[in-house]
Each structure stands twice: as structure tokens, then as C-alpha cells.
């Protein structure tokens, strides 16, 4: 039995009158790839964002329940949300590089936590860009703007930037949806490699992607968790009728 990194308990979230997440209970196993699967608009992204409290940015929201990270409720009883956020790197649907050079993008997280030694930063940049398979492409132009990179490269830069703050968890919100097949493959392969060190939570609506890399599946529909469990089990012996329909592709 493996340890659970994140446990979500009775999470309920409403924005204005819309009930986005309905009584969510799930647990995310440590150092595995957990895929949150489901059709568009089922609350997958919201669930992901509630894990590092980016939901704080939503106006008119009512939230109840708890999300425990390493056993501590991040909605109650933590003093600094930034410490929590630093433990999680986020990859968004479209890459969001910061408006600065490639080099500074990677060092941003380190610099705001007070690491300033040039030598240290330089080594880290090389290390993390290599981890994200971007080093060879950008090593000669580290000081050019991040916006000059292609979308696929930007997404890998965002991965490097996220890894550089030394997180425990990687949150990925359909990170490959804006990418070409080759860049997507690169990101997927990277995830499989990274799961030895990080807990990865991936939101996707691509069934094939889930089949390829998932260890654990959380299947959502209309704000509820329909089924969750081990990936092989989920794909070979789905229990719920909705799941079976979704896997057959006869779903609307």
C-alpha cells in the first residue's frame, strides 16, 4: 500500500449559483501519475486548481471541505499559501512563460525565495533545462526573451521553471492540448521519467493519453467523481455504467 500525497475530503465548490464540484472525495498516490479524466466542463481543471488554491482567485465562490497535503489541510491551518504553492509546479493548458528571458524564467522561483548566487543559479538553469529536454535547443540563447520560443518549447520551459522551485507535486492542466504530437510525446515521456521523484497530477480529456501514462485514474462527470482507481483495473474492468460508456466512446 502506497502513501497518499493529497487527500481531498468532501470538497464542495460553488461559483455564483453554479455547482462546480460536488462532494469530491479522492486521494492522490505519491510518486505516481494520477490522471483526472472526464469530458470538457466536468470540473477537472477546477479540482486541479483547488489543490494549490488558485481557486482563491475566483470571485463569488463558496468552498467547503478539506484538501490535505502531507496530512495538513491547506484550506485551514496553514500560515502561508505560498509555501504550499512552491511545493507544486503548474503546467497550464497554454504555456505561460513570464515576460523575461529564458534564463530568468527558470531562475525566477529561486530568486524570489532568496537564492542569488550567480554560480548556483547558472548550474540550476542548466540542470532543469536538461531535465525538461530543452537545454540543447536554447543553451546559446539563454538571454533571449522566452516569448521567442515556439509553443512546444515554451511548455518545456514552463516545466523547467516549475521543477526549479523543487516541488513535490506537478500539476498539469491539459499541458499537451496546444502542442504538436512530437512536443506532446516529449512531455508525456518526461512525465513517465519524472514520476520516480514527483507526484504528478494530470488533467486530460484525451483517453489515449490517459491509457498511455496513467497509474491511477479519477474519472469525473458533471462535477462528481464517478469512479477512481488503479489505471489497469479502470481500463480493463470498469465498474460504473457511465465509465463503460465513456471508455466505449459512446458518450455525450
Amino acid at each position: 500500500m502506497q502513501a497518499d500525497k493529497i487527500v481531498v475530503k468532501n470538497l464542495d465548490l460553488k461559483i455564483e449559483r453554479e455547482h462546480i464540484l460536488k462532494n469530491i472525495n479522492c486521494s492522490i498516490p505519491e510518486k505516481k501519475i494520477t490522471v483526472i479524466l472526464g469530458p470538457s466542463g466536468c470540473g477537472k481543471t477546477t479540482l486541479l486548481k483547488s489543490m494549490n488554491r488558485l481557486t482563491d482567485l475566483y470571485s463569488k465562490k463558496i468552498i467547503s471541505g478539506a484538501i490535505e497535503l502531507n496530512g495538513i489541510n491547506i484550506y485551514n491551518g496553514i500560515s502561508d499559501i505560498n509555501d504550499v504553492r512552491r511545493k507544486m509546479g503548474l503546467l497550464s493548458q497554454r504555456p505561460a512563460p513570464l515576460p523575461m528571458s529564458i534564463y530568468k524564467n527558470v531562475t525566477y522561483g529561486l530568486r524570489i525565495s532568496g537564492r542569488r548566487s550567480k554560480k548556483f543559479l547558472k548550474l540550476r538553469v542548466e540542470h532543469y533545462l536538461k531535465q525538461a529536454n530543452l537545454w540543447e535547443e536554447v543553451k546559446d540563447r539563454l538571454n533571449t526573451p522566452a516569448s521567442s520560443l515556439s509553443i512546444g518549447q515554451q511548455q518545456r520551459l514552463c516545466l523547467a521553471r516549475g521543477l526549479a522551485v523543487d516541488p513535490e507535486i506537478i500539476l498539469a492542466d491539459e499541458p499537451t492540448s496546444a502542442l504538436d504530437p512530437l512536443s506532446s510525446k516529449a512531455i508525456e515521456d518526461k512525465f513517465v521519467e519524472l514520476k520516480n521523484h514527483y507526484t504528478i497530477i494530470l488533467v486530460t480529456h484525451a483517453l489515449r493519453q490517459a491509457r498511455r501514462i496513467a497509474d491511477y485514474i479519477i474519472f469525473m462527470y458533471l462535477g462528481e467523481i464517478i469512479e477512481q482507481g488503479d489505471a489497469t483495473e479502470f481500463f480493463t474492468h470498469p465498474k460504473n455504467e457511465l465509465t463503460k460508456a465513456y471508455l466505449r466512446g459512446s458518450f455525450n
Binding site: R85, A96, P97, P99, G109
Partner: protein, 271 residues
Amino acid sequence: MLMRATCGIIILVMGLILFTIFRKGLPVLNWQILTSVPKGGYYFGGEGGILNAILGSLYLAIGSTILSLIISLPSALFLNIHLKKHQKLQNTIRLFIDVLWGIPSVVYGAFAFTIMIYFGFRASLMAGIVTVTLFISPIMIRGMDEALKTIPNTLLEAAYSLGSTKYETAYRVFLRQAMPGIATAILLSFGRAIGDAASVLFTTGFTDNIPKSLTQPAATLPLSIFFQLSSPIPEVQQRAYAAAIVLTVIILLISITGRAISFRYSKNDIK
């Protein structure tokens, strides 16, 4: 077609204004006008120049732009980062600032003047700077606000997920991303500050001397133009146009440098 016509009309009017100023002002524009203060009988065609007004205007506009920047930048960032999830409050504040923007500058001048009378202050450079700051701040805040508003949510989320505080998000990420818009807002405000006559009429006064401290009154170019234009003597009227050339050139120079600076900083922008 309509767009072309309207564009053409604007360029034509601008050209006409510039043409008039330069045709009337250029013949009398000389080194003496730029480098000396009015001597006795200047407004009746005597010797002298408008250095008092040039320096007065520059002091006033630079002072108030800096003061306004100190107020406006944090306000605009606060509005767009801290109040992100309070959209109602955000919009109410925007509405108020828009109303403040719409109030004519002479009202700001009158308002400041009543306060000055209450405390027994005399017209001075300081009073002028404060008044002009009050009336250019709404322009600056809303200009910056418009630039900051266009920043996509994903950038905010990216900054937060890296563990940035609101302060770091504001000054390390948002400021950079919105730099060109922010520079434009500053330039716009500077232009309004240096070009406005009504707000400084009561508060800054007018003098033929160069102000040596913040408590002394100061001359300004728009008022200098006004006083010279009201003279019945044609030569003095012509000098008003020379002063207008100076004002135009100052604004032009500031705009060009400002644009160059913002261009330099915008190369990192995420499109």
C-alpha cells in the same frame, strides 16, 4: 472609406495647428527668448524671453508626474492584483476614477485654491505640483489599469504557482508585462500636466522670475502663452506662438524618449 476620411481630418487639423504655430512663432524664436526671463516692459514688446515659463513648466510637470507615479502605480497594481476577485469593487473604483478623469482641471484648481486659502498658503510651485498631481492621477491610474487589465489570467496563475507573493507578482511580473502601456500612461499624464493652464492659474501663480524654491510662485508655458496672446502688440502675440513651439517640442521629445524606453522593455513581453 470613413476610417480613412476621419484619419485624414485628424491629420489635417494637426498639420494646420502645427503650421500656424510654426509660421507665426518661428520668425521670432531666437536664443534670447529661450534663455532669458522677461525684462521690464516685456509684455509691451520689450526685451526678454520665456525661460521663466519653460523652467516653471518643466519643474511643475516633472514634479507632478513623479508624485503621481508614486501614487498611481501601486494603485493600478493593487486594483488588478489584490482586488482581482472583487470584481464589483473593482468596477466601482474604476467608475469613480473615470468620473475624476472627467472633472475639468479648473475645478481641481478651484478646489485646491479654497484649501490653500483656508490654510493661508500662497500660490507656489508646491501647491501647483500637488494640484496637477491630483488631476493627472486619474489619467495615469486608468491608463496603467487598462494596460494591466489585458494581462491574461494564466500569467497571474503562473506567478502564483511559483510561490510569488502578491507584491512579487506585481513588481516582478505584471510591471514588466505591462511596461509599454504603463510608459504610455506616464507620457499621457506628463503631456496633460505640462499643457494645462486652468489648474495652475490660482495655485501656481505667475512670475517673471525663475522659481528658486518650492514655496515660490512659478510661471508656466500655457499661462505665458495666454498672457502674451492677450497683448495688443503683434510682436508679443508672435512670441506666444514661439512659446507654443517650445511646448510642442518638449512634449514631442518626451514622447520619443518614452517610446524608445518602453520599446526596449517590451521585447520580453508575452504576446
